[in-house]
């Protein structure tokens, strides 16, 4: 018995998937493990590293999906994460997923992986697109040159996957060694002698050090390298550098590229076929000076119709009024009142109890928590994620980055920031995590600040659209205009206060693709699942906390404290205080509270405009705050919140007085 278990453990391997962004790594991961993660056209969507257990054989290997990289000498946090995984996790097999039509560029990473000394196998993915583009790869010659197996795959259609799985079971360690020339080789040998045993080859570490990769140092220190040794290595590096006019990183990269070019020349024929002309033309139109903006506005209009009108309007109406209002709630209330004998528990569940006074407002877990979460927020989030999936898989998102680059430059960011920002329209928490695709800490902080300040999440946006849409289009434009203006002002000032420079905008634009509905459906499902498991419990906790502090009388006291600000500064009814309070637990939840107030006829049009603006600018929700702390630390996160909170009230106050003073109506 014991023997058997030991053998099993021994056979259990760690498989790491590595590749550039957009090569379909996540799809391959899904096929290997059966757990689908988000697949997308935009660099960096799988920032969180996914792990799964393989299902293709009985060994139950651990499969790790690393973030996309353009180089293993990292320039962004994503690339660093991948390099660190390879360094510390010591995978038994690395699967390098290659974009077959871009094999020339991808092979440089293959050479880096070989240099690291891992047992390796290649997946030449999106083989169909390569064939279309006239790129033919001679597998045998490629394998001969590299010394590892290469499998042609079309992962979305499961093509080539069985063979890839076989190759994963029998990976090869290449003997290929790039000769960097006498001087560099001598330096490598010297550095080699000073390095301790490493999880990857010393040669790789030596080359990274010669390339002035500062990020590799902490790993070396952890592996037992002494400060003194590193200092001596610095000397060796600068002595080596003095022989070359160009930076060593350039010389080394160029050498790798020329080796890769040699392999490509031998194994690949590129007939330079015109890529599908119609698709290409559409792709180019989306970023052109003439058509770019009209297309952008059309996309936004469709998004408004889809998420705002259909999702937030029809679906919410139907679920809230017909399903919950007409059927679920009356039934639930009757059931609870009949079966649960204690008034306290009755109130906790359905917000009312036998013999409650007529004006009693309860915070029932079902009547408030479940209704808000399922009837109001869920449909909106689902519609948003569906649309976002379409944007991702069609390849439009990076094009949006091109179109918005100039605007983002004004606030110290660049086009790449469009991903967290648009994702922030879905869920701010997810968005803060995605700020990691940005290259510098300064950009990540700026993006987080703007997300916390002004980007409403889908549920909140849905409620905003519904509430303001009920008044007039002007009211909606007014609020969005004010919020946008605040983002620009704060971003502009922030970009000047925070030290450092904005990094260069260099972004790959994948071809436009017709999205596969199946993939979008699966992706939306997994995101909705994330929302249900992550957000809904917070809804319920928030409701419960509210219920408790209401019962022990603390709610009244906090409301008393906030009342002057809400009533006098913002000019809102007292009941709105509680919406803002809940808003801290989930912003969308707070917005939904305001929505309920409006529907009950307790808010004037002016008040709706003011409250929506404040709610949008207001504090991030609890989940987002937690992620902010995790990503940026207590100090920065609290500084951001400490700024955003008074700022929102201030802007709301100014707005309130202006509207009243000018007598503006909507």
């Amino acid at each position: 018995m014991n023997m058997k278990i030991e053998i099993n453990l021994k056979e259990k391997k760690k498989v790491a998937l590595v590749g550039t962004p957009n090569v379909g790594k996540s799809v391959i991961f899904g096929v290997l493990t059966g757990t689908y993660v988000t697949v997308s056209n935009y660099p960096g969507t799988t920032v969180e590293v996914e792990q799964g257990v393989s299902r293709f054989d009985r060994h139950q290997d651990v499969v790790i999906d690393c973030p996309g990289v353009n180089s293993l000498v990292p320039q962004s946090e994503d690339e660093r994460v991948t390099r660190d995984i390879l360094f510390t996790e010591r995978p038994d097999v690395v699967v390098h997923v290659i974009d077959a039509k871009n094999i020339r560029r991808n092979l440089v990473i293959t050479l880096q992986l070989i240099e690291m000394g891992f047992p390796l196998t290649l997946a030449l993915n999106m083989h169909d697109e390569a064939v279309q583009a006239g790129v033919h790869i001679d597998g045998r010659k490629l394998q001969g040159a590299l010394g590892v197996a290469a499998t042609a795959t079309v992962a979305v259609e499961r093509e080539g996957m069985p063979l890839l799985m076989q190759n994963i079971r029998a990976p090869l360690t290449s003997r290929l060694r790039i000769d960097y020339g006498e001087r560099i080789e001598a330096a490598i040998a010297k550095i080699d002698a000073l390095l301790p045993e490493l999880p990857v080859s010393k040669r790789f570490a030596a080359v990274a050090l010669l390339m002035d990769d500062r990020t590799v140092r902490p790993l070396l220190l952890k592996a037992g390298a002494g400060e003194a040794a590193l200092h001596r290595i610095d000397g060796i590096v600068s002595a080596a550098q003095s022989h070359f006019g160009k930076p060593l990183s350039y010389v080394i990269s160029q050498r790798k590229q020329s080796v890769s070019d040699g392999i490509v020349a031998a194994a690949v024929t590129d007939r330079c076929v015109q890529r599908s002309p119609a698709r290409e033309r559409i792709g180019r139109m989306t970023t052109s000076r003439v058509w770019g903006l009209p297309i952008l506005f059309a996309v936004l209009a469709v998004m408004y119709l889809f998420v705002g009108v259909i999702g937030a309007g029809w679906c919410v109406d139907f679920l809230q009024n017909t399903v919950f209002g007409g059927w679920v709630m009356p039934w639930c209330t009757r059931f609870v009142l009949a079966c649960v004998p204690w008034p306290f528990a009755q109130d906790m569940l359905v917000g009312t109890y036998a013999g409650a006074p007529a004006d009693h407002v309860g915070y029932g877990l079902i009547s408030m928590g479940v209704v808000y979460a399922v009837a109001i927020v869920l449909p909106i989030v689902t519609f948003f994620f569906l649309f976002f999936g379409l944007l991702e898989d069609s390849g439009y998102l990076p094009r949006l980055a091109v179109m918005s680059n100039k605007v983002f430059k004004k606030v110290g960011l660049h086009g790449k920031a469009v991903l967290p920002m648009v994702l922030g329209l879905g869920c701010g928490t997810m968005a803060v995590m995605t700020t990691r695709i940005l290259d510098t800490r300064r950009e990540r902080i700026l993006a987080t600040l703007l997300l916390a300040l002004g980007v409403p999440c889908s549920a909140q946006l849905g409620v905003i659209l519904a509430m303001l849409g009920a008044i007039s289009g002007w009211a909606l434009l007014f609020v969005l205009g004010v919020v946008f203006l605040q983002i620009v002002i704060v971003g502009y000032v922030g970009a000047r206060i925070l030290p450092g420079k904005t990094s260069d905008f260099v972004l790959e634009i994948p071809p436009m693709r017709v999205p596969a509905m199946y993939n979008i459906a699966i992706k939306t499902l997994s995101r909705v699942k994330w929302f249900l498991t992550e957000a809904v419990p917070l809804f319920l906790i928030a409701t419960f906390v509210l219920f408790v502090i209401d019962r022990i009388g603390v709610l009244a006291r906090i409301q008393g404290l906030l009342r002057p600000a809400v009533v006098h500064v913002l000019g809102l009814p007292e009941r709105a205080t509680e919406a803002f309070l809940i808003g801290f637990f989930r912003r969308d939840y707070g917005a939904a509270g305001l929505y309920a107030l409006q529907r009950a006829g307790e808010l004037s049009h002016q008040q709706v405009v003011v409250s929506m603006t404040v709610m949008t600018l207001f504090v991030p929700c609890l989940a987002m705050l937690l992620v902010m702390i995790k990503e940026h630390g207590w100090k920065r996160a609290l500084t951001i919140v400490g700024f955003v909170f008074p700022f929102a009230i201030f802007v709301g106050g100014v707005m309130n007085f202006m509207l009243r003073y000018l007598g503006l109506h909507f």
Binding site: N102, P247, T287, V402, D504, F505, I509
Partner: protein, 215 residues
């Protein structure tokens, strides 16, 4: 004293001037080649330099010669780089080269290289007459990638490597000398095709890439 030696000393003084004041005793300490007080006196007599209060400064005629020589030196380095000459001999060869090329030839080389503004060590190359003319009218054979119009293609001749991070980013996308690129659009951002990939980027990044136009 021969012209070559005078030129050497003037160039040396110019390089030092860029770093701050030049002291006479500092100059006299130089070993390779040695500078003597007599040589400096002779140059002062010729109206090339001025010595005052232990300091040396270049006068206009001296500065002109020094600038020309420095320009030729750095142009030569750039040229050897494009020719991919071995690194060990570059500096030495450039030192010979600078004194040999006539003005006309240096302008031809400068034009051929696309009027580069810095040598591959990132030091500025003083502009010559040809550079000023080129800015006005002539289109040089090698141009900045940012100067290509939408739809035009070019082959990368060289890249300036002053900013390591930017360079590493470009090389990781496959930008290297010898590679063909095509500019698809220039606004709102540049979109450049390299191989089968389209890459969007800012104009500033493209300023580091120099190409020879094709077709």
């Amino acid at each position: 004293m021969d012209a070559k030696k005078t030129e050497e000393i003037l160039e040396f003084i110019l390089r030092k001037t860029d770093q701050g004041d030049v002291r006479i005793d500092g100059l006299l300490e130089r070993k390779e080649p040695p500078i003597t007080l007599e040589a400096l006196r002779e140059m002062e007599h010729d109206g090339l330099i001025e010595m005052k209060g232990g300091m040396v400064s270049l006068l206009k005629p001296g500065r002109d010669i020094a600038t020309r020589i420095l320009r030729c030196h750095r142009l030569a380095e750039r040229l050897f780089d494009v020719l991919d000459m071995s690194h060990d001999h570059r500096e030495e060869a450039a030192c010979h080269f600078e004194h040999l090329i006539p003005l006309e030839a240096s302008e031809a080389i400068c034009t051929l290289l696309g009027h580069p503004t810095e040598c591959q060590h990132g030091k500025p190359i003083p502009p010559g007459e040809c550079c000023k003319r080129a800015q006005r009218e002539v289109q040089s054979i090698v141009l900045g990638l940012a100067d290509l119009r939408a739809g035009e293609r070019g082959k990368i001749v060289y890249m300036t490597t002053k900013q390591h991070q930017r360079m590493d980013k470009l090389t990781s996308f496959g930008f290297f000398p010898g590679v063909e690129v095509k500019v698809h659009q220039t606004s709102p951002a540049y979109v450049v095709q390299i191989g089968n990939t389209d890459i969007a980027m800012d104009r500033e990044v493209l300023l580091n890439i120099f190409v020879r136009k094709i077709g």
